[in-house]
Amino acid sequence: MNHTLLSIAAACLTMATAGTTQPAQRIVSLVPALTEMVFAIGAGDRVIAVSSFDEDPPAVKNLPRVGALLDPDVERIIAMRADLVLLYGSQTDLMTQLQRAAIPYYEYRHAGLAGVTGTIRALGQRIGQEKQAEALAAGIDRRFAALRQRTASLQKPRTLLVFSRERGSLRNIYASGGRGFLHDMLEAAGGVNIFADIQMESVQASSELILARAPEVILELRSTDIPPEAERIAEMGAWKVLASVPAVRNDRLYFLPGRSLVVPGPNVGEGAEAMRRVLHPRQ
């Protein structure tokens, strides 16, 4: 119930749009998560340009790049005669410029896991793919419901979810706090976030904080596709100094490579499944 309400709230939040409601034919996406969503709901052929950071799906490789969050190339976007620009809610200058050029845009903000399905639905409505969007979003909702059910009765390990760290050392560790899609995915996958009480998306985790919170599992996310086992063994040494941490003592340190874990797009279900597999390998 709570979850549904959140979805609706997130959908309302992301539906803040400007301009016409005519289904867009020439879409420019500056947000990788939204690019993936547009392709996943069957409108990939209408995408004419993407951001510098877009990698998925493979079809985007040949599309022109028009900047990203900090450096959108507004001239090119206008020259391409886009009729819908998918952008971040913080790109206020770009919004003003697009308004002046009478180009409609769709504004996106990160809003946890509920925001992912909410955004898919809102985006589907915006580009006239309601049915496909509803099917995709409902599929993700079902998948998470099943995952939550599957892990509900399991012993949930206290988990540290690291998304950035200096290689070969324990410096500048950034981990998921109690807010955001990664935290939601971890809890659905049957883990307890050791920083759930810190209402931030990102927490700088000092070694003292990690020793004090004593995680039973450490999950490290990597956006690249490095073979996880080789990487794990090589990096394990860095963690060994924190010998009292149960995850280190019991060798429960895992690297999870892949973009589905760092992009809040249509593949969040796979990401959460990958987390579940290492948290509860026998279930």
């Binding site: 290689r167 070969g168 050392s169 324990l170 500048n172 810190i198 003292e208 004090a212 100094v241 003592r249």
Partner: protein, 333 residues
């Protein structure tokens, strides 16, 4: 009081405060620990969380703070005297920006192996500082055989801008996750989590401080002008070279250990001068001790004031140092 008498008061005074702070700081933090557990050898190391918090998380951090604080404070004193400019900081002459560029490149290219077991980012940052030092030095000695402080200042500031532009360029090209790491590195961080990086930096800071120890008398005279110093028998060129190189090495070592932590190098020397006068024979040892104390206290605040969240220590150095400095300045005036 002559210099010897003043030193006999100042060094034990400042040294005592430093020792006290170094003793107390590791006992305080975001997590309460039991000191009797920390030193209880009957508890196996792997089970002794208190000992690990003390020896792995806090002690290296306090020692790193002391080392970096003294290196940056010493570099600040030396450069302010060398350039005869009260606004000179360890970050004025391009060495810090080249050190930061080295770190940025290591992050951008995801270098995962360092040298002799040290992590890649500090090694790359130190190499960067050496490249910057060499470039500024060669430029400043090229015009005439002696080191020209005017050229030194102009070349240093220009290279600083140049390297800063390269840093921005690298940040512009890398992906968002790496951009976040670089931005965070530039805020500075003393959580080194082991003694190895400290041991790696110590010889260099030691050599720099030993070089600085040759300088106090020359710096006193150089602040009056190069001609005055030469007339009083100072080998000006040699003193300037030692001053520049010692300050650059100290800065490079400090930045590679902890990132560019601002404000120490400018505020500590001035605070110390306000307290003990302007004779470098007293200012230098006092600044080295006070720099260590100041940074350790700032880091203690950074890691406890908003616990469990930690503040970047550079924010605290400026927030604490600024008002204290202004208060002293107004009081003195």
């Amino acid at each position: 009081m002559n210099v010897r008498q003043r030193l006999a008061v100042v060094v034990p005074g400042f040294g005592g405060v430093t020792a006290l702070v170094l003793l107390i700081a590791p006992t305080l933090g975001s997590t309460p620990i039991s000191l009797s557990n920390v030193f209880d050898t009957s508890i196996p190391w792997a089970d002794n969380v208190d000992a690990q918090i003390f020896f792995v998380a806090r002690l290296p951090r306090v020692l790193a703070g002391a080392l970096v604080g003294s290196a940056l404070a010493a570099a600040g004193v030396v450069l302010q005297a060398l350039l005869r400019n009260p606004l000179a900081t360890p970050f004025t002459l391009g060495v810090s920006a080249s050190a930061a560029l080295g770190a940025m490149l290591a992050i951008a290219f995801d270098l995962d192996v360092g040298i002799l077991g040290a992590a890649a980012v500090p090694v790359a940052s130190f190499v960067g500082s050496l490249v910057g030092t060499a470039m500024v030095y060669l430029l400043a000695t090229r015009v005439n055989k002696a080191l020209s402080t005017n050229v030194l200042l102009l070349a240093g500031v220009t290279l600083n801008t140049f390297f800063s532009a390269l840093i921005t360029f690298v940040q512009y090209l890398i992906d968002f996750a790496d951009w976040y790491r670089t931005a965070r590195w530039l805020l500075g961080n003393l959580d080194v989590s082991s003694f190895n990086p400290i041991l790696a930096s110590m010889p260099l800071v030691g050599v720099s401080l030993a070089m600085v120890a040759l300088l106090p008398r020359a710096l006193n005279l150089l602040t009056l002008g190069e001609d005055v110093a030469a007339a009083r028998g100072v080998d000006v060129g040699r003193a300037q070279r030692i001053a520049f190189l010692s300050a650059s090495f100290a800065t490079g070592a400090a930045i590679s250990l902890a990132g560019p932590i601002g404000f120490i190098g400018v505020v500590v020397p001035h605070l110390v001068r306000l307290l003990v006068g302007s004779d470098h024979r007293v200012v230098l040892p006092a600044s080295i001790l006070f720099g260590a104390t100041f940074l350790v206290i700032c880091d203690l605040i950074a890691r406890t004031v908003m616990a469990p969240i930690e503040l970047p220590v550079g924010i605290v150095t400026a927030l604490v140092g600024g008002p204290v400095f202004i208060w002293l300045l107004v009081r003195k005036a």
